[in-house]
């Protein structure tokens, strides 16, 4: 039945119709056959015993008066019934009195039996019947009939049955060919439509309804469902388009605002530089020209002013650098990162030559990036590493790398003071500082600048840190060919 489950519905319907009609026909025909067989046997027996009755009634006088000629004559009348192959009359003493046909081999005749009545033996129907006049038995009649009539009849019957079955099955075939269409066609049409829709993704297609039956309702339900999907799809894509437009609009707005902001901060920084320079200049002039008039306290106060104005100058320079980044495009070239890092390290190292520092630089690969800005990145990261490990007796800094399919990831690890990861989100913010200015100098712009540079290069920057153990900064740059 597993096989039956998998065959196409048209064939399934056909086989069901065929099977049912075939079985019905077979059962009907065989019951008729059996009935006919039984009744025909009965009829044959009855016919033979009727014939026997006639013969025996007619032959009573011949037996009574020993008239063999007459008896022969009576038996010869059996010629009219070609299926009677043998007939014998025995007298009341059981002696053969007359027989038919004259060619009969008398020796082969059955022994006269006390049993009367007819029965089927091998290929004959035969039996004995008493010849009675009044209440007196005058002799016995033996009749034997071949079964040709029966065989003929059953041959005819078989032919008719075969013809009926063949014709009926042929009719069933043609009828089912026509009728199964009304069931299979809508299902196949529906299946075809479903297939087309799922392949083409065309939800505007509809299945054709072929009738008002359950299959029709199914088709309707299917069409309704497809309609709903179609309208939902439309709504969804409309919504998508609106959303995209909105995102575009917002991005544009943001870009504009960003540009404005950049321009604003640039001009502010630029404008702030001039007054701070003039403060610096004038205070230096004051210090030089009025050196003798100023007492120690005044000179100390002036020094504080100078320090703060210098600090402000630095701050403004940093801000200006940060603001500048948004304003210009990158000029990317192949960069030997190792050489660059070494140079920077030499410079930075000079300033803190009294410290015990173990500096390791792995064989980091070339980058494809803008020289000036990437240099700024390394300067900031290396100075940070030096700065936040200042309080350790032995400083260890390692520069390393790894890569994946699309990018090269550079890293710088120190054993400095570190930071609590719960403040990580503030790490790359402008003016955000995780340590006090008393402990570690700085403007709070450095990492913001680094992040901005890396992002502008299409890379990413992140860090991992454990307080008092150290910090690792990672930044990734896309590989040249994957940009």
């Amino acid at each position: 039945m597993t096989l039956f489950r998998d065959i196409p519905i048209q064939k399934k319907l056909m086989s069901v119709i065929f099977l049912i009609s075939g079985i019905m026909l077979l059962v009907t025909c065989s019951s008729f056959f059996v009935y006919e067989f039984y009744t025909f046997r009965q009829t044959t027996i009855q016919k033979l015993s009727t014939l026997g009755e006639i013969i025996s009634t007619n032959s009573t006088a011949a037996l009574a008066f020993q008239d063999q000629e007459s008896a022969d004559e009576i038996l010869a009348a059996l010629k009219a019934e070609p299926h009677i192959v043998a007939a014998c009359l025995y007298d009341k003493n059981g002696k053969l009195f007359s027989f038919y046909p004259s060619s009969l081999d008398v020796k082969k005749l059955p022994v006269k039996s006390e049993l009367t009545g007819y029965h089927f033996d091998d290929s004959y129907l035969q039996g004995f019947q008493p010849v009675v006049q009044g209440s007196k038995q005058l002799g016995t009649l033996y009749l034997r009939s071949d079964l040709d009539a029966m065989y003929e009849r059953f041959t005819l019957y078989s032919i008719i049955t075969a013809l009926v079955i063949a014709t009926s099955l042929l009719l069933a075939y043609f009828l089912s060919q026509i009728l199964q269409k009304s069931i299979a066609k809508p299902i196949l049409a529906l299946a075809e439509t479903v297939k087309t829709i799922s392949i083409q993704g065309n939800y505007s297609l509809r299945a054709i309804k072929l009738g008002k039956d359950e299959l029709g309702s199914l088709t309707d339900a299917f069409n309704d469902m497809i309609g709903q999907i179609h309208s939902q799809n439309l709504t969804l894509s409309e919504f998508n388009q609106t959303l995209e437009q909105k995102v575009k609009d917002r991005t544009l707005e943001l870009e504009t605002v960003n540009k404005q902001l950049d321009a604003f901060s640039y001009s502010i920084s630029h404008d702030l530089r001039a007054p701070i320079r003039s403060i610096n200049n004038y205070i230096n002039i004051l210090l030089e020209d009025y050196d003798e008039q100023l007492d120690t306290e005044a000179k100390r106060l002036i020094q504080v002013v100078i320090q703060n104005s210098q600090k402000m100058g630095l701050l403004i320079d940093d801000l200006l650098a940060f603001a500048k980044l948004g304003r210009k495009d990158l000029a990317k070239v192949p960069l030997s990162m190792k050489t660059m890092v070494k140079e920077i390290w030499e410079e930075a190292h000079q300033l803190e030559s009294n410290r015990n520092i173990q500096f390791v630089i792995q064989d980091i690969p070339e980058a494809y990036a803008e020289k000036a800005t990437i240099r700024q990145v390394w300067v900031n990261l290396i100075s940070n590493a030096l700065k936040y490990s200042r309080k350790k007796e032995n400083t260890s800094i390692e520069i390393s790398w790894k890569e994946n399919e699309k990018e090269i990831i550079y890293s710088i690890q120190d054993n400095g003071i570190g930071f609590d990861m719960k403040y990580y989100n503030k790490l790359f913010g402008v003016f955000q500082r995780l340590h006090s200015a008393q402990d570690f100098e700085g403007t709070g712009v450095g990492l913001a600048i680094v992040e901005r540079i890396i992002e502008k290069h299409g890379g990413k920057i992140w860090a991992k840190s454990t307080p008092n153990v150290g910090t690792v900064f990672y930044f990734s740059l896309p590989k040249h060919n994957s940009v």
């Binding site: 007619n58 006088a61 011949a62």
Partner: protein, 182 residues
């Protein structure tokens, strides 16, 4: 059982008698024939005084059967009637309840008279006399090809209210003589 014993006795008799005179054997067969006539002839019910009354087979004149007739008839029954043989010396002796009458040749000259006397009485008349049927008799034995043959006059039987079965007539030569009285 007795029936078979009787039959075998009869056959034994026939075998023995075959060595005897032909006429003896002839009358043995004729006795059987007479018995068989009773099976193929119907008598009107009023010919029997009661349903149990015997069917009487009479022999008029000299009896050629001897004991055979009694042997053949013993224990036979036709429609509930036992069979008995009576012998009559003369015509006057014939009883009203006689059913079959065999008339011997010795009384041949009186045949016509006898038959006229029996007119209207249901008695089946049988004889060997060649003119018997012409004289109004019903059944005549004759021998042909060494076999006993029958001649029957159904008209005579009919006028005596007797019905002879067509089966019997089939075997016999049916003769319808012109009666002198007509």
């Amino acid at each position: 059982m007795r029936h078979y014993i009787k039959i075998s006795l009869l056959f034994a008799g026939i075998l023995i008698l075959s060595a005897q005179t032909p006429s003896t054997r002839e009358y043995q067969l004729k006795a059987v024939f007479i018995l068989n006539f009773t099976q193929f002839v119907e008598w009107p019910p009023n010919s029997f005084s009661s349903p149990q009354a015997p069917l009487v087979i009479g022999v008029l004149g000299k009896d050629p059967f001897g004991n055979y007739l009694e042997e053949v008839l013993s224990n036979e029954k036709i429609n509930g009637h036992a069979l008995v043989a009576h012998r009559y010396k003369s015509m006057e002796d014939i009883e009203k309840d006689c059913h079959v009458l065999y008339i011997n040749l010795s009384e041949s000259g009186k045949n016509e008279k006898i038959i006229t006397n029996l007119k209207g009485v249901s008695i089946l008349t049988v004889s060997d006399n060649p003119d018997f049927l012409k004289q109004g008799g019903m059944i005549r034995f004759y021998t042909k090809d060494n076999k006993i043959q029958l001649q029957i006059n159904p008209e005579a039987a009919k006028s005596a209210n007797l019905t002879i079965s067509s089966k019997l007539l089939r075997l016999a030569e049916v003769i319808t003589p012109k009666l002198k009285s007509k």
